[in-house]
């Protein structure tokens, strides 16, 4: 199996990488686990990021920085703050170890809307992305909202190279759940939740070609924040929260799942996450 590539480059600096990426038909590659999966017929050159030293997980000030070429295996092995447990859970959710060993955080954010998992968790964890872009005096580092970058990726407008994700280290609790046909399939849908000083943040992934991709659920997050501040008795809250979630989870039908089914599963995951959060953090918000 071949790609019809004319050139391969492994630059040693961000400036060189950004310059190489200006050529038409050129893509950056990190782990490369999807090079042979999606149609790359028009790809003529790849710029391999492995020589740029963009990997690693570190605490920097009040944030956790996850380098773009950190693999899911490295993320799983990293010592993460207790409040960021969802990061380890999302890495563990990729059960194919050979994929986990190569698939990178930055790569997962640079694909189309069939992407999942990492984007869902980072959205719930209030992450910002650090992107290197060409400036008049060499590479410039920008901080972007995750959803803006995902939108740019989905519309083909993404420029520059994702070099890391910055996640607030003051989050107290987080968790991730996914639903998938088998252990090695991409999730049909998934959901993540974090709780911290800025309240509850919930995100879900509506995956598949032409799907909405990763979306935040602001109304559900607000409702969950209220529940956490004043923990309910009984189970009535589940149906009420479920209705709120269903009202803002997008639908997407494809060969794998119907839209209503997918939305229903996502709402179930959200309710389960909030229930787990209440059990561990009720009254803490």
């Amino acid at each position: 199996m071949y790609l019809d590539l004319e050139t391969y480059a492994r630059p040693a600096s961000l400036a060189d990488a950004l310059a190489l990426l200006k050529a038409p038909g050129t893509a950056a590659v990190a782990g490369g686990t999807h090079l042979n999966v999606h149609g790359h017929e028009r790809l003529r050159a790849v710029v391999d990021l492995q020589g740029l030293g963009l990997g690693g997980v570190s605490e920097e000030g009040s944030s956790l920085r996850v380098g773009a070429t950190t693999t899911l295996s490295e993320l799983l092995a990293a010592e993460l703050p207790a409040g960021l447990a969802a990061l380890g859970q999302v890495a563990d959710a990729e059960k194919n170890r050979a994929v986990r060993n190569r698939s990178t955080v930055g790569g997962r954010l640079s694909r189309d809307r069939s992407n999942g998992r990492v984007a869902t968790v980072l959205e719930a964890l209030e992450a910002e992305l650090e992107v290197a872009a060409e400036g008049p005096e060499g590479p410039t580092r920008l901080h972007l909202h995750l959803r803006d970058r995902l939108h740019d990726v989905a519309t083909g407008a993404a420029a520059g190279i994702v070099i890391g994700a910055w996640i607030p280290a003051d989050l107290r609790w987080s968790s991730y759940l996914s639903a998938q046909l088998s252990a090695v399939d991409a999730p049909t849908t998934d959901a993540a939740l974090s709780v911290g000083p800025r309240g509850v943040h919930i995100a879900t992934g509506c995956h598949g070609a032409n799907a909405a991709g990763t979306v935040a659920l602001p109304a559900t997050s607000t409702a969950a924040t209220v529940l956490l501040a004043d923990p309910p008795t009984g189970d009535g809250w589940r149906a009420e929260l479920r209705e709120v979630a269903l009202s803002e989870i997008p639908t997407h039908t494809d060969a794998l799942a119907g839209g209503d089914y997918r939305r229903d599963v996502a709402a179930t995951l959200v309710v389960r996450l909030v229930a787990a959060c209440l059990a561990e953090n009720g009254g803490a918000a």
Binding site: M1, Y2, L3, D4, L5, E6, T7, Y8, R10, V29, G32, T33, H34, L35, N36, V37, V46, D48, Q50, S73, K95, N96, R97, A98, V99, N101, R102, A183, V184
Partner: protein
């Protein structure tokens, strides 16, 4: 067709091969006689093409040879052969974990990676290690038995050699 010079250590030997820029590692290995690495799904889902890259299990069908250049690669041939099988390979034979055998090289590579990381894997650890390996024949139970047997034998061999 544009080519690159692929320089790597393959099964302990330094190699320098001219390969097409867009060629994936499975093809490169097979074109150089290492046909134990199987061409399966070619999308990173089935595990038949698994090799060790710097000691880590990867799917060679979704890894450009150019990306693997400069690294250390171990294929099934580098683990052992019919005349001198590795204890893992012998365990797969003895456990009856092979039927058509197409997936077996990838599973043995996965088992090698697992035992390097965890010498005493639980049944669940073994299941997780094989999660990316599809087999239409065995039903996996004997493969899990083989991993348990291999762990015992590799452990015994390590103790014996100490």
């Amino acid at each position: 067709m544009s080519t690159i010079t692929f320089k790597a250590v393959v099964n302990g030997a330094a190699v320098s091969w001219e390969v097409p820029v867009g060629e994936f590692l499975t093809e490169t290995l097979r074109n150089h006689g290492l046909i134990g690495t199987k061409r399966g799904c070619e999308s990173g889902d089935c595990g038949a093409c698994a090799v060790l890259l710097d000691g880590v299990e990867v799917n060679s069908c979704v890894l450009l040879s150019a990306q693997a250049s400069g690294h250390d690669i171990v294929t099934i041939e580098g683990i052992g052969d019919a005349r001198a099988p590795h204890p893992i390979q012998q365990a797969y034979v003895d456990a009856g974990a092979i039927q058509c055998g197409f997936c077996t090289p990838g599973m043995i590579v996965a088992t090698k990676a697992l035992l390097e990381e965890n010498a005493t894997p639980s049944r669940d650890d073994a299941r997780h290690a094989l999660a990316g390996h599809l087999c239409r024949c065995t039903g996996y139970v004997k493969c899990l038995d083989a991993i348990e047997l291999a762990a015992e034998r590799v452990g015994d061999a390590t103790k014996g050699g100490a």
